[in-house]
């Protein structure tokens, strides 16, 4: 309980401890704490940013999906239209082809009948000449009466 040199000794000890603490203990710990605080803040900010980006991506994805759907339905509609068109075209083409075939057949028939008629005419003319020869009882020169025969042939 006596005040003695211990007082001064304690003061010096205390001062040395404070100096040591201030020099070698406090700064590294506090700087580590600050660094961790910054690390955590950065991490949280990054997480926030990530979340935000995720939201954006989701929005973009849904937008893209919507667009794709629109495009798909567009394509389908177009395809349907095209199909109808193709069918119509095919129908038209078939009809045209049919018409053409019919008309060519008709023309052929016409030609055929024409040719038949020509042949018939020839035969008839020969028959007529033969008939007329018999009727006239004499040889009629076909050459001499070719003009006449031709006229007759055309009158048939």
């Amino acid at each position: 309980m006596n005040i003695n040199m211990t007082l001064i000794g304690q003061s010096i000890t205390f001062a040395i401890f404070v100096w040591f603490c201030m020099k070698f203990v406090w700064p590294p710990i506090v700087s580590a704490l600050e660094a961790r605080k910054k690390l955590i803040a950065d991490g949280l900010a990054a997480a926030d940013r990530g979340k935000h980006e995720l939201e954006l991506a989701a929005k973009r994805a849904s937008e893209t999906m919507h667009e794709a759907k629109l495009k798909a339905s567009d394509i389908i509609a177009q395809a349907e239209k095209r199909a109808v068109q193709i069918v119509e075209e095919a129908k038209g083409a078939a009809k045209g082809e049919g018409d053409r075939m019919i008309s060519s057949a008709k023309a052929e028939i016409e030609q055929e009948s024409h040719r038949a008629r020509e042949a018939l005419r020839g035969e008839i003319a020969a028959l007529v000449v033969a008939g007329a020869g018999k009727v006239l009882r004499r040889e009629v020169s076909a050459q001499a009466h070719a003009d006449l025969l031709e006229v007759i042939k055309n009158e048939l």
């Binding site: 309980m1 005040i3 211990t6 000794g9 404070v18």
Partner: protein, 280 residues
């Protein structure tokens, strides 16, 4: 006075005497073997136990904290680092809460005060006869374990703090500003003597109250432990009662030792803050 009372008195006295080294009245140097011898040594003596335990505890504190400080990294902290960081943050927030100026010394000072005083007080929870018993077996006449029950220790700290208060008062306000603060308020320049008296008492009260508060609390707590320890020699019933009381007082004392360390730290911060204030 009965023999029982006499030994009790001796027991108490023995526990309250520091191990003192100094010059005897006859001129030789050595340890004081009685309280009277210690008193006769006067100022030129040193309390070996106070110095020894305080340095031991301080070195222990700085060793552990330095160990953590060296390996401190911003990554995930381990157990000891976690604890140290918790203490550091606690002290830091206390300093930030009470200290408005900027001074890189205050926070480490507060940390040193808090942990050192806490450790010195913590020695109070050791059963009071353990270390003195060991010392007695080693032939040392006295051994006072709780450093903060030695006014030399508490005044040593509070006077250092007081020196810092004076230093920063003069540094921040200038000598004129500091003297003006002491003499020109609260009554203006015509009440100078009264001002000086009031402010002087105010100023001196800081280190004195700081030291005496800690010393008084720890001394009283130690005294109660000693009184309880006396019960152990008073028969089975008293011994059991003493055991229960000692346990209860130790539990309560945990609160006191922490609180006293915290108060010393907080008041130091506040006093230094006042020293940095310039608004007068």
């Amino acid at each position: 006075m009965s023999a029982e009372a006499h030994t009790s008195t001796e027991y108490i006295r023995h526990h309250l005497q520091n191990l003192t080294y100094g010059q005897h009245v006859d001129g030789t140097w050595g340890l004081a073997h009685t309280a009277q011898e210690a008193r006769d040594m006067g100022f030129m003596a040193i309390n070996v136990d106070t110095m020894g335990f305080s340095i031991l505890l301080g070195v222990l504190f700085l060793f552990f904290f330095r160990m953590v400080a060296k390996s401190a990294a911003p990554g995930v902290p381990g157990g000891l680092q976690n604890f140290v960081e918790w203490v550091v943050e606690f002290v830091d927030s206390s300093v930030k809460g009470s200290f408005t100026a900027r001074n890189p010394m205050v926070a480490p000072l507060a940390l040193t005060i808090f942990i050192w005083i806490f450790l010195m007080n913590l020695m109070d929870l050791l059963p009071i006869d353990w270390l003195p018993g060991v010392a007695g077996a080693l032939g040392l006449p006295f051994m006072k374990v709780v450093v903060s029950t030695d006014p030399n220790a508490t005044f040593g700290m509070s006077l250092t703090v007081f020196a810092l208060v004076l230093y920063y008062s003069v540094k921040m306000k200038g000598l004129g500003g500091f003297v003006g603060e002491l003499t020109l308020q609260p009554f203006g320049k015509w009440g100078m003597p009264a001002n000086l008296l009031l402010e002087g008492v105010n100023l001196i009260a800081k280190p004195v109250s700081l030291a005496l508060r800690l010393f008084g609390n720890m001394y009283a707590g130690e005294m109660i432990f000693i009184l309880i320890a006396i019960m152990f020699s008073g028969g089975a019933v008293l011994a059991v009662t003493g055991g229960v009381l000692q346990w209860a007082w130790a539990v309560f004392h945990i609160l006191i030792i922490t609180l006293q360390a915290f108060i010393f730290m907080t008041l130091t911060i506040v006093y230094l803050d006042m020293a940095h204030q310039e608004h007068h």
